[in-house]
Subunit: 584 residues, 2 copies
Amino acid sequence: MYRTHNNGQLRAADINKEVTLAGWVQKTRDKGFMVWVDLRDRYGITQLIFDEERTSKEVIEKAAKLGREFVIQVKGTVIERESKNPNMPTGDVEILVSELNILNESLTPPFTIEDETDGGEDLRMKYRYLDIRRNPVRENLIFRAKVAIAVRNYLANQGFVEVETPYLIKSTPEGARDFVVPSRMNEGQFYALPQSPQTFKQLLMVGGLDKYFQIVKCFRDEDLRADRQPEFTQIDCEMAFVEQEDILNAFEGLTKHLLKEINGVEISEFPRITYDDAIAKYGNDKPDIRFGMEFGELNAVAQHKDFGVFNQAELVVGIAVPGGNAFTRKEIDKLINWIKRPQIGALGMVYSRCNEDGTYKSSVDKFYDQEDLAKWAEATGAKPGDLVCVLSGDKNKVRTQLSALRMHLAEELGLRKNNEFAPLWVVDFPLLEWDEETNRYHAMHHPFTSPKPGQLELLDTNPGDVKANAYDLVLNGNEIGGGSIRIHDRKTQAKMFDYLGFTPEEAKAQFGFLMDAFQYGAPPHGGIAFGLDRLVAILGGQETIRDFIAFPKNNAGRDVMIDAPAPIDKKQLEELHLKVEIKS
Amino acid sequence: MYRTHNNGQLRAADINKEVTLAGWVQKTRDKGFMVWVDLRDRYGITQLIFDEERTSKEVIEKAAKLGREFVIQVKGTVIERESKNPNMPTGDVEILVSELNILNESLTPPFTIEDETDGGEDLRMKYRYLDIRRNPVRENLIFRAKVAIAVRNYLANQGFVEVETPYLIKSTPEGARDFVVPSRMNEGQFYALPQSPQTFKQLLMVGGLDKYFQIVKCFRDEDLRADRQPEFTQIDCEMAFVEQEDILNAFEGLTKHLLKEINGVEISEFPRITYDDAIAKYGNDKPDIRFGMEFGELNAVAQHKDFGVFNQAELVVGIAVPGGNAFTRKEIDKLINWIKRPQIGALGMVYSRCNEDGTYKSSVDKFYDQEDLAKWAEATGAKPGDLVCVLSGDKNKVRTQLSALRMHLAEELGLRKNNEFAPLWVVDFPLLEWDEETNRYHAMHHPFTSPKPGQLELLDTNPGDVKANAYDLVLNGNEIGGGSIRIHDRKTQAKMFDYLGFTPEEAKAQFGFLMDAFQYGAPPHGGIAFGLDRLVAILGGQETIRDFIAFPKNNAGRDVMIDAPAPIDKKQLEELHLKVEIKS
């Protein structure tokens, strides 16, 4: 036994006990006749004292030479601390050390092991094992584990069975790019790593498992945007004999449980909004509803005046910025510059100040009188003291722009509070979305999603209008979960593959096993998958998922700590029947 | 809602309730004026009744046409069953059906969905989703989930933190063959799938996480022996500031908890045996101790007589077969033929019958008198009525042969009882083992295992004698877990790599990150990993791990259901900078 107690454990009640502690040297103070050491481990910090009168000369000299992050073991007596530290759980006591054993030395770490470190992102990633010694990083990992076990116990108590599905599966052309794994035993053939266990969980429903879940790694070989990882973790769920309503209730239950268990927040019922309404009201299918600023459409009240810009626009739409009348002219100009940046791409912004006295002062007073502007205020819900910001143009573009403005302003105004939680369901997603690149419709969710009852026929005439039994769970402006009721009969599935451009041969080669399964009594079923990394980050009140992943990869998909990926032996390549061909 | 109750739920107390049920048609009995249907789901079977007098003609006709495995929904009333079935939880009631809704039809399944099926292994694997509908397979999956959550909750309660380590890591030449994953973004470079999260868990200890665990998939590209899978699941654990004793206690605790929680078996303390003793007593480092039959060495009492075979042998060793004197001459000859098969390779077997009257009758009476044979009986612990079987020859070979014989006999005699559990620790494993193929020593556990204190020096002189701080947990003749105290200082680790034939450059390229980490205050640490597939199978009282894996692969590493691995697109290969080269 290296220790009798950990470093977060000892209290006044332990005074006079003989103890053995072990841990890392956080810092030392050497006054010559006395040395203090802060000894740290996962559980806390305990102060050690070495003093000339009570500690042997040899030990005190050894203590004076301890460096930061040395690993030591000490034996000693718990004594009352002279100057107590009420900010530390162990602050009433210290250890008068009689024996000191250096278990391992340490070079000076490349950054300080403190809550606020001087190490930059790159250095912290290269020495991630030192970064994990820092309280905030370690606490994030412990928090993640706590969320995961809360999910598991809740779902298990609800009768869900965690089933491990395979990692070495088959590559499919649909969706994102697969990571593949060459097979040595099957020449020229490849496994693929799952982008999700989608087909397997559906087969488990065909298999009568009724309620399935799994916390599982998934893989996507995509060009990495900020805060995306090539491997990520999903809470993957599926139920049989359910309709959309059953799924929504079941996983609203899970989310409520987590919010209560983890964050102490009780939420009675999650609002629901259709996809179309979300787009119209927030310009976005994952609206942050912690704050208002809903879109007000102004076509009826702002067009057919003399303002040509608005008259020509497909959509004129505004938001009321709470307290925005306090913005200076300079601040408003800054805002206008912000939305004109190429990333946002608005051509300009019209605004109307709502004065405290009930009058208005707009940037287009030439064209609109007080009565007009009162209608703008009414449509956007603006009150005296607010600022109405109006964009106009192509419907889709302008909504996206106004959504960006809304989020930007909310951020600036401190309306996106980390300790507030506002979940909502977005339902009735379109079945298909138009892809500019390939010039055809793609499945918005995936090809296994069922259209709403009676809408299958629309596929041939108005494909873009077909709604799906698909839903997303949105929390604080992030999609944390998404799912659908699946197709469960072979004919509909075949029609869908056909529609998505699969030849019957391709459909059979890729998904024949699923189509076969549907012929042997497939029950109606549906499910949902949550992104655990994102969920944990949001529940933890933080933005970046990377802070909740023990060993994340950088934006080039590299693990800079272990330096992977890396070239492999020629012999390994030969065994895999492969040759590397780099085109210059 | 597709159902108000499941098919295992209704009881006499529910009589007169209006219910909606859904599930699969297990079987139908059609008497013309009456039709019975057994409706099945995960939870049980409920009997439906359609009768001329109380059900509409249309519904009764529809019912008569239902085929096996059709998915149906029915509405009806719970009524008392005339001929109750006490063997079914729902056997007191049946449902008088008023509405019948066919949710999906089914082709005739390729094998019967019964506890004992007529489907062979291949067919069952191809239609695994139908196999999973069978009670025993489904119950195995549910059992596995129950074990996994029991493991998680126990370890979490003990302060262990589950941390997800990466799946896309770096290939290392040590150990078994890696599966690799070509990187598209890093030309000509590869990730590897982890054979275990070994280095990551050690880095978590360097990172101060103190107690880590993870239930995690691991991957080995080995030629598959029976009952091995290319992907398998490990309960991976590591602790800091521990000695071997701490690890043994911690995971004896886990195992006891599982045996109690899952099997209702209480075991007070696990016996411990050294590797050397296990080999001497059982010829095997994973002895099954549910039964005796320990080896008795007979050199002292059987050599230096006139029997040349024994005199020339390095080792003469026997076991007492309980009740074996009842074997006929024919049965003994069969036994001798069994051990002479090439797989076992013994040259012959000497035996001595221990008669009930205290006399002996051996196959070598010419050379040994009653007094000699009494000593054999004493050395092997044979009692009157037993049979002493004796093998001789080269020490290592003869022990392996006698171990095989011991297990064979125990199996034949019914001594390997599935509901008996006999765990034990095997400790003090050798650090190195000689590899005939490469003609050098390899790490027996892995290169991170620490030698026993003070034995490092032996490496240069008697490498085969160096014992490691390594241990296995054995249950019913299977290694269910294994681990070690790790090296935690750079110098020792460098020496170990050097000894194992790594050049300093190779060591740095492969494990530089770990060696670096050891310079920044690595604590003493150690751990263990359990094979979850095997553990679950044993706790479930079964032999094959495949029965506890939802979608296993066959011996060629293929998933015959989805038909993977498979060729991939030329475009995919190009993006990965690869070319397939098959040598004919």
